[in-house]
């Protein structure tokens, strides 16, 4: 009797581990069947339109506002120490190292990841996946891999666009609103942002987040229960798991990349 709650936890943990294992296998299968994307790049291009181009608006607007808020908040604090002009550096470093990759990945998961999950889940619910199997077409090759690679290609580009609009938003607030000198804004930034340490590491982060979020999206869709309720649950799970995964991975990656700095 006393052990019952523990058994429940054990069962949940067991389920979690087997799901992680299943996802790992699914990733290998996805990579294995990626040949079709190379033979027919058009399949990927079409998906880049849906996950990348259609996410541009939310990425640009969010990036702009995040940069502007960062500019306002940081200037307020920095100005107390008489160093308001380093606001450009603070905005750029926060965006490039942390906020850009993390926020873009979470926005991408909610905008594009959920759509991919719902689409693949509905294909399963309406037997389109079964139909493909019966036509002797491997659904992972035809349906999963183009969406996966489209996500992996799109998110790092979206992250870079997010960073740039964020920095421009910070510039707008700091220079046009708060009267920081424009030249100082850029030069303080360029003094402190390192190409390899900051830009490259931030870019690497976004690539890893892209793989994680895209995998979660296609995995949850492909393994959705074939009902309306199952698809809606899978969509929710994509957003929740992606967000947690991105934040958790961010901590681990930051610990490796920026330790001692």
């Amino acid at each position: 009797m006393l052990l019952q709650p523990l058994a429940g936890i054990g069962g949940k943990a067991n389920g979690l581990f087997s799901r992680v294992g299943l996802a790992g296998r699914f990733l290998l299968e996805t990579v294995y069947y990626s040949g079709m994307c190379l033979r027919r790049p058009r399949l990927v291009i079409k998906e880049i339109y849906f996950v990348g181009v259609l996410s541009l608006a939310i990425i640009v607007v969010s990036g702009l506002f995040v940069g502007m808020v960062l500019g306002l908040q940081m200037y307020d604090t920095l100005d107390r120490f008489g160093s308001g002009e380093v606001v450009g550096m603070v905005v750029a470093l926060s965006l490039v190292r942390e906020l850009g990759p993390v926020l873009s990945a979470i926005l991408f998961a909610s905008r594009a990841g959920s759509a991919v999950t719902a689409e693949i889940g509905l294909m399963r619910a309406t037997e389109q996946i079964s139909a493909m199997e019966m036509m002797a077409i491997q659904p992972i090759a035809r349906v999963v891999t183009p969406r996966f690679w489209a996500g992996v290609i799109s998110l790092p580009l979206l992250t870079s666009i997010f960073n740039v609009t964020g920095i421009l938003g910070g510039y707008l607030v700091a220079v046009n609103l708060l009267g920081v000198d424009g030249g100082m804004f850029w030069s303080e930034m360029q003094d402190s942002v390192d190409f390899r340490l900051d830009i490259m590491n931030g870019f690497d982060k976004s690539v890893i987040f892209a793989i994680a979020v895209s995998l979660v999206a296609v995995f949850e869709g492909y393994h959705a229960t074939a009902t309306a309720e199952g698809v809606s649950r899978a969509t929710t799970r994509t957003v929740v798991i992606s967000a947690l995964l991105v934040l958790g991975l961010d901590f681990v990656l930051t610990a490796f990349m920026f330790r001692g700095i």
């Binding site: 079409k46 580009l157 666009i161 003094d191 942002v193 390192d194 190409f195």
Partner: protein
């Protein structure tokens, strides 16, 4: 949606994305500020460099003229050897002096160059002989206290 429109949008998206990466690399990061210009490197020995770090600026009369390329300890003299990379367009006389200063009260430390009167200029691989070390706050305080104490004895 026709395929051609779709291709156009995806192409545009990739171009904008790559442009963003280029912007971050060239305009935001300091990677090219030196790479674009030719530099020559000189070394300077200091008793104490305080909190000076690699990639910190080298300034003369407040103008950034180069960066710290390397810092290491000379194990025979036990002095800190600082390698400075100075842009080719800024020639300095061979009797130039180098000192480690702090930008603002709590700001970062940098190397300041004070040009001398010699007609000969520093070239690649030369040493700067006249150096003054960083001011270390603890030393200043202990000096001050020691002086105060000895004054009190009298």
């Amino acid at each position: 949606m026709k395929y051609s429109m779709l291709d156009l949008w995806v192409g545009l998206f990739i171009v904008v994305g790559v442009a963003a990466i280029v912007f971050l690399s060239l305009r935001v990061a300091n990677q090219t500020t030196l790479r674009a210009n030719e530099t020559y490197s000189v070394t300077a020995e200091f008793d104490n460099i305080g909190g000076l770090k690699v990639r910190a600026p080298v300034r003369s009369a407040g103008v950034t003229v180069g960066r710290i390329a390397d810092i290491y300890l000379d194990t025979t003299t036990f002095k800190a050897v600082v390698k400075l990379e100075i842009e080719e367009q800024f020639p300095f006389s061979s009797d130039t002096s180098a000192s480690i200063l702090t930008a603002g009260l709590l700001g970062e430390q940098y190397v300041s160059l004070q040009a001398g009167v010699d007609t000969e200029t520093l070239s690649d691989g030369d040493d700067i002989w006249l150096t003054s070390s960083a001011m270390v706050l603890e030393n200043l305080i202990s000096n001050f206290m020691f002086n105060a104490a000895s004054e009190g004895d009298q």
